[in-house]
Symmetry: C2
Subunit: 447 residues, 2 copies
């Protein structure tokens, strides 16, 4: 009898691991159990489905279960929910949701890729259908259906993180009146206050009403949101309060949890249980700058971790070096990006730092389509090491964060960043790239 | 009497060095002698002056002599040509072009920043006013004047390098019929053949007639270009055959020349003569990948080298680590970028390599404005070290070369590039950035 790999969860991490395991071992039996109706899709694309930039839900599906079966001999079963893991008996309990029956399935190796779910605080009325988080394609389809109704005019977005920003943009683009309610004093808590202010400005410029320091208290029956600053009309409310890892299944099987209750994994994506791996939004990840394990739910990480898990499952050797906390989003024409540590995170990690901040342009100053860009970098006092970067800018300026992410990964100092041989032509950059100007300012601050 | 620094050449390297020297030493007397009528201008902006993207010649001037005098107490004299350097007597012979007189000026320290000039082969008729290279603002003003004439319809661009491409674009944008004549089998010799083919395609798509493998033989009286493939109508011809360093003044003073007859300098921009520095397009530069001295005429290098020279002149300590050969240009919406070594350069350097090539998109595949991008990387066999990268792509894709330039500078392997934590959101990138896809292909090729 052949050895069997069971994968719980059929999105980025799960399917990447499954195909990678197949590549490494032709003889392995691979069964993927996915609770929802889709495999391998781009949840990050949901805001663009709602905005109308993307036409159909199906456009966000990278590969169907049938394709996995045909091309990779992976038995991908949708609408199959794993309800328990028995490590001693080495089997999972599966609920076939369509058929309404439960069965047991044995495994030799197990990958847990159960993802994360939108944080849903215990507020009165939050369970109504017009209040919705954004995580799965089903959420996307549901939001699209609600947004398409003629009476959907007022939209309240709860939370000013990546998803909140992107959903605010999407509904403005649909012609809705959008209010973004954020409990803290700024949107984008992964940015510093000064950079977040630029994001608030961009949101307002785009027609989003931004209410900071405002707590949501309850959702009225059928519409309307009660907040600490009064009632807001709402035909639809989107929750963008962040996500929590789906670690419960693993925990109840006795598998160790780690950072933010994500599943604890080592550099090879192994959990505390022998032969059991975890990857993606349900698992923790090593942060190369803070040198600590963290929980960051991102498709890029899920893909990388899934690949590493798959290679190891197939008997190969792969390790995931970790992340530097890079993330990017777009609010209309303004791109917002960050990498490494923010000021708050640096302070928390006990790192003394200086700041370099450049207000520059994306192209040569005299060039017609040039646009403003602000780049901020953090450098460690004593070593000069680059430890963080943030960018807010239009005209495709955000991807410049990759230069900083690469430099941080390489352990470069801001002096080395300043010396980098970056690409210049008037149509694409000022002579000194804004990231180098920021590095220069940090050098001056370091003395 | 105070010590005097004389700077020969008032563009990027010269003026950067002068201001940096002033910052370091308040007591220094600083005299800059510039042959032309402008200081500190963006020669790279000339094509956009011709295209009409930039309104006036003055828009390309970063700072005027008066500003240098007022803000930095730098005695910047335009229309002053240095005709000889006497190292023993420590003085230069200066021709005041307006006044028509010659005088001697003593120096304690000297910076040679004489720049480069367009290569002008010895062909019949090349000295006519309608045949022009592009280097100084005077060239720009002259081209603008010619292009503004009603009979300027047919333009021949000689040479398919950066300037040739940008000038071809500029004249197409003005509504001229443009033929680009290139002696070699491809435009952009700093790219590999397969990538250059994409550039040829982009040029043709934009309406430029591209004639490869065609030699220019002579220029007819008053218009028309004779080539190895017949006569081309021409009201205006632009020379884009590359540049040669202006090293003659230094050489005749007995200062050592280096790569491609550029002035030999060390890591602190010191020449072979004591107290004499050189920087910018007239000087050589250290190439961090080939580990050899090279001549690369670029504004970014001139600025960096000028800064290093200025700090050292003022008694500080600065060194210029070198370049990795990064360059970028734009042909209409298509950006063309390169860094490190091309296949030809790697072979010449005796480095055995593999290629990774990715045909991807600039944003998520399902995203509306996504555009094609091709990324090619070279990795060293045995070490896996990234040694080169080339990008041809639309939609602002070219600046992704900075990620590769940073990785090359850091000595990263393609495996490390693949593991980088780069920024992803559907609006700005595919989940796997094209540079990572190319790195992955190289990993596969390495085995």
């Amino acid at each position: 009898m052949s050895e069997r790999l069971v994968v719980i969860g059929g999105d980025a991490a799960g399917m990447t691991a499954a195909t990678q395991a197949r590549r490494g071992r032709d003889d392995l039996e691979i069964v993927v159990l996915e609770k929802g109706p889709w495999t391998s899709y781009s949840a990050c694309g949901i805001p663009y489905l709602v905005s109308g930039d993307v036409d159909r839900v199906e456009d966000l599906v990278v590969r169907t279960p049938q394709e996995f079966r045909d091309k990779h001999r992976i038995d991908a079963r949708v609408r199959h929910e794993v309800t328990a893991v028995d490590l001693d008996a080495r089997r999972v309990e599966v609920r076939a949701l369509e058929q309404g029956r439960t069965f047991l399935l044995g495994f030799d190796q197990l990958l847990i890729a159960t993802g994360a779910r939108p944080l849903q605080p215990d507020l009165p009325g939050i369970d109504q259908p017009w209040v919705r988080g954004v995580q799965t394609l089903a959420d996307g389809a549901h939001l699209l259906e609600l947004a398409g109704r003629p009476r959907c005019r007022d939209v309240v977005v709860v939370g000013g993180g990546y998803i909140g920003l992107e959903m605010a943009e999407a509904f403005v683009q649909r012609g809705c009146r959008v209010t973004l309610v954020e409990g803290g004093e700024q949107p984008m808590r992964t940015l510093d206050r000064d950079m977040a202010r630029l994001v608030t400005d961009a949101l307002r410029k785009h027609g989003v009403t931004v209410q900071l320091g405002t707590r949501v208290e309850s959702f009225d029956q059928g519409g309307g949101v009660q907040t600490s600053a009064g009632r807001l009309p709402a035909d639809l409310a989107v929750l963008g309060l962040g996500v929590v890892p789906n670690g419960e299944l693993a925990a109840s099987a006795g598998i160790e949890l780690g950072a933010k209750d994500a599943i604890a994994v080592d550099h090879r994506q192994r959990t505390s249980a022998s032969g059991v791996y975890a990857a993606g939004d349900c698992a923790e990840v090593f942060h190369l700058v803070s040198r600590k394990r963290a929980h960051i739910a991102l498709g890029t990480i899920a893909n990388k971790a899934g690949r590493v898990a798959g290679i190891n499952i197939a008997g190969g050797y792969a390790s995931f070096p970790g992340v530097v906390g890079t993330a990017i989003t777009r609010v209309c024409s303004t791109e917002v990006a960050r990498t490494g540590l923010s000021e708050g995170e640096a302070a928390e990690a006990g790192i003394e730092y200086v700041v370099g901040r450049a207000e520059s342009t994306t192209r040569a100053g005299y060039f017609p389509d040039t646009a403003p860009i602000v780049v901020k970098v953090l450098a460690e006092v004593g070593t000069g090491r680059l430890i963080g970067g943030q960018i807010v800018g239009a005209d495709r300026g955000g991807k410049r964060i990759d230069t900083l992410a690469t430099a941080i990964t390489a352990g470069m100092t801001v002096h080395q960043v300043y010396d980098l041989d970056l690409a210049y032509a008037p149509a694409v950059s000022p002579l000194w790239d804004p990231v180098q100007v920021a590095a220069r300012r940090a050098m001056t601050a370091l003395g």
